[in-house]
């Protein structure tokens, strides 16, 4: 018996998925909170200042490396498990129970994850690459220079098909989370008679609210909508 089994056994591999999954859920919360600036009054300045903070804070830059590792681990381990699980039944059924005994999205995590991965690559090319490697215009607030990431958003989301792709990305994310949150809690052993219902409810609320907020962002930028807060800066 030794602790390294935690990562090599079947339960251990699932634990890696659950822990990285929860880490990515925390990232989604932060990402959603920062970007929600674009939904309110004065989106350009509020969002650019927030993005500047995220891009210049040393702790957050270090976390960014951890975030990439978290993504890679979740993706690689996910595919490995999917292949292994598929090969554990070489002779297939002629008839399957389908949706009678389980939800389609719980059976389609690899597919949904792949859609999110494709979206993620596009998303990084759109925003992360120009932020880190140049390609953004500059803007001045109170005599200080900031990258105008908001202008980049306006450019990208001016194209209708891009907005549609982003909305589809949010849909995939929502379905992925709908299974993922409660599944991670189950794998980590947090689920029990007393909390099963609560955990499921939290999972459902999270997987609807967060992707919905993300989905509103390209729509708001594309159509120039904003929620009037009377000049008060919200969220940041």
């Amino acid at each position: 018996m030794n602790w390294s089994q935690i990562f090599t056994s079947s339960i251990g591999k699932k634990l890696v998925m659950a822990m990285t999954g929860f880490f990515l859920v925390v990232f989604l919360l932060v990402h959603c909170y920062i970007n929600a600036n674009v939904l309110f009054s004065n989106p350009e300045e509020n969002f650019n200042r927030a993005a500047h903070f995220m891009g210049s804070n040393i702790l957050i830059r270090i976390m960014e490396i951890g975030l990439f590792l978290g993504f890679i681990l979740h993706i690689v381990q996910g595919y490995k498990l999917e292949l292994q699980n598929r090969s554990s039944r070489k002779s297939r059924y002629a008839v399957t129970a389908g949706n009678k005994t389980s939800k389609w999205y719980s059976r389609s995590m690899a597919l949904l994850g792949t859609l999110i991965l494709l979206f993620l690559v596009l998303h990084l090319v759109h925003f992360w690459v120009p932020s880190r490697f140049g390609g953004l215009t500059d803007v001045q607030y109170d005599g200080k220079t900031y990258h105008n990431l908001y202008a980049q958003m306006q450019d990208i989301f001016a194209v209708p098909w891009v907005v549609v792709v982003y909305l589809l990305g949010c849909f995939s994310l929502s379905w992925h989370l709908l299974h993922g949150v409660q599944s991670a809690a189950q794998t980590l052993g947090i689920s029990s008679k007393n909390y099963f219902g609560t955990i499921k409810t939290i999972g459902i609320v999270f997987s609807i609210v967060v992707p919905l907020l993300f989905a509103l962002m390209p729509l708001f930028v594309h159509f120039g909508w904003q929620i009037n807060t009377g000049g008060v800066s919200l969220l940041f």
Partner: protein
């Protein structure tokens, strides 16, 4: 309920032995009573096959009262058929109607090789039990069963987990052919009781190691197992198994 008789078309998996490729064959079964069990219906079909000089369909069965865990089969994509909380032997033909075409397959998983037709080897489960699904008892005078106090809640949960008959429907239902519901029931049953305490950590680690060796897939929490389990074992046992495993490996000396 009105009794009725029906004519059915049965599409059944035929496979001579573990090494040969299997295939489906279709049979007509006439005058099936709604009061027959599914296995009795196959008995009737087998008598017809024997009378015509054919090879009867091999299938597993023993007690035929829903408690031994021997009967198996996947009926129209459902291990033990369409009824909830029911083994194949307790599935009655009133679940079907005249003219139905029913597909009958063996439980399919690499860890459950087909021996013949609808019979599979579930010895992998036996080896998992041998790896730790027991309590060691010293010889000597029998101890009074009531001498050891057990909390009511724990006794109830342990009893619910102990209801697992080890039939393998969870593996058959799981898209990953995972044995987690079975193992979690066996681990929970003993982990909740004081008798299981001395071997608690070693048990879960060894049973999981054996489970992985047998080639079952890993659990992705779709909960199809719980939906198909004839004894309605709860997936919360899987969460307990995960906890037990984490505790045992992290606190290993």
């Amino acid at each position: 309920m009105q009794h009725y008789s029906m004519n059915l078309k049965l599409k059944v998996w035929r496979q001579r032995n573990v090494n040969e490729q299997g295939h489906f064959e279709t049979y007509d079964v006439e005058n099936v009573s709604s009061e027959m069990s599914f296995l009795e219906m196959i008995d009737v079909l087998n008598e017809q096959l024997i009378a015509k000089g054919g090879e009867p369909i091999a299938f597993d069965h023993d007690c035929r009262e829903g408690i031994c865990g021997m009967c198996s089969m996947v009926i129209d994509g459902r291990p033990h058929g369409p009824w909830k909380g029911t083994t194949t032997c307790q599935l009655h033909m009133r679940a079907f109607k005249d003219g139905d075409k029913i597909t009958v397959e063996p439980f399919r998983a690499n860890a459950f090789p087909v021996i013949k037709d609808l019979m599979v080897s579930r010895s992998a489960f036996d080896r998992i039990i041998q790896a730790g699904g027991y309590v060691s008892v010293n010889t000597g005078n029998a101890v009074d069963g009531n001498a050891l106090p057990i909390e009511k809640d724990k006794a109830d949960d342990a009893f619910a987990a102990a209801a697992c008959i080890g039939c393998g429907a969870c593996v058959a239902a799981c898209k990953n052919a995972s044995a987690m519901l079975f193992v979690s029931a066996k681990v929970s049953h003993l982990a909740l009781l004081p008798q299981g305490e001395p071997e608690r950590k070693q048990r879960v680690v060894n049973m999981i190691a054996q489970m992985d060796k047998e080639g079952f897939g890993s659990c992705t929490n779709t909960y199809a197992c719980e939906a198909e389990c004839p004894k309605e074992i709860s997936v919360l046992n899987i969460a307990r198994l995960n906890r037990e495993y984490l505790d045992a490996t992290l606190s290993a000396d």
